[in-house]
Symmetry: C2
Subunit: 240 residues, 2 copies
Amino acid sequence: MLAVLDLFSESRPLWTPDELMRELGYTRPTLYRYLKSLKESGLLMSTRGGRFTLGPRVVEMDYLSRRADPLVAAAAPHLARLTAAHPCTALIVRWYGDKMLCVASESSAPNPVSSYPRGRPMPMGRGAIARSIMAFLPKQRLMPLILRYADDLRGVGLGQRPEDVVRVLKQIKRAGVAVAFGEVTPGAIGIAAPILDAGYPVASLCLTIGGQQAKGELIDRITEEVRIAARTISAEIFDQ
Amino acid sequence: MLAVLDLFSESRPLWTPDELMRELGYTRPTLYRYLKSLKESGLLMSTRGGRFTLGPRVVEMDYLSRRADPLVAAAAPHLARLTAAHPCTALIVRWYGDKMLCVASESSAPNPVSSYPRGRPMPMGRGAIARSIMAFLPKQRLMPLILRYADDLRGVGLGQRPEDVVRVLKQIKRAGVAVAFGEVTPGAIGIAAPILDAGYPVASLCLTIGGQQAKGELIDRITEEVRIAARTISAEIFDQ
DNA sequence: AAGAAAAATCTCTTATAATGAGATTTTATA
DNA sequence: TATAAAATCTCATTATAAGAGATTTTTCTT
């Protein structure tokens, strides 16, 4: 039944029962039984024209998840403060072991180079956010990731061999912040620091600014602010 | 398995396996099997301390649902325009047959009286939003609702008997807009017009302003703007 | 880093509950 | 209101979840 749910994607948010039957190979009564359960639970809903989409429970659960997340609560004032201080976008990206998703963001840039709403997936192989998290992973957890994203990591100039990547990440860990120039969004500078829970990276605080405003001295100042804000948030969420 | 998911609520967003076992009466292996599936699908995740919460798939699905919703897309510029014109909160509330949820909102009020984020449930028996939708329901769909929320409807002075409520709703339908004073949030005025898809109400556009700014003439002007905006959105979403 | 405690998973039999073919009912459409 | 399409029902069959208890893995303590 969860396989039905998994078919609803960005490129294909609407399905007819017949399409689902064909895709999953279920018979008509079986599929309709699943659809009935999913509809009753609110995870799916039918639209006019006999198609199905994600339903109200999805919206409701995200609301719950947002309100129950101590990280989102702790980070909100810091995002507000940082965006008030600089024309930028500040975001919190959670790391779920295999992927990263933006869970909170606020923007004060007049024309943001890119949007980072809650739920937007972020790439694991590129950008300051990914590196700020990877730098704080224990080696055993890190190595599989480096191998999996070897191509991407090479592409942004982190080094040819895994050892080279590890060396760069060690530097980032020492600095406590990662900076990237246009790796995720062309023209955007990303400055990210990890949020640690019990010493283990669970998310990243990232501030993105347009490449134009990027005087070296300003970047240094922001870098320091991000580092400190991430540290503060880490302390606030630690055990609760 | 969906019963497990249903337990995660605003008042109880964290559960231990033992609590779930006790609550649902499942044996240990059974519950763990469920948790494993739900964890693998990303609907649940475990936190430090062996507790479970809603997981990344929830965040991701809401993002999908938001991006795939033609109503959210069509309404966004209107919310922006209305909030730019008045210090207020403008929101879109979808009606799901048995409940209403805010699906989009934007605010320009300096100190909003209340917040209406996506996912917030709205009461079906009170407020301009509820009435703007009920007024456009066919009688057969309407009567059960009136009976179900009779107490609430009486409480806000819509009439003692169902016929009285029906009469008030007929007036609202003729006007095309509903106005309410402090029914959902004390001190807030709500002005709502239905969004129709194929003549059938699927949502409501609502504008809330603080009671202080509420000169009668201003309310009349806003009322007209809301009515027209809702009509425009209806036309835009009609069959895609 | 080793041992104890707790948590999670595994094994295998039993019995429950999901499946599918086809018929039937309900809903939508003209 | 008739016709087509969509959704649900029936029931025998079979697959597959459930549970008791043992076992493994993880976590915590010292």
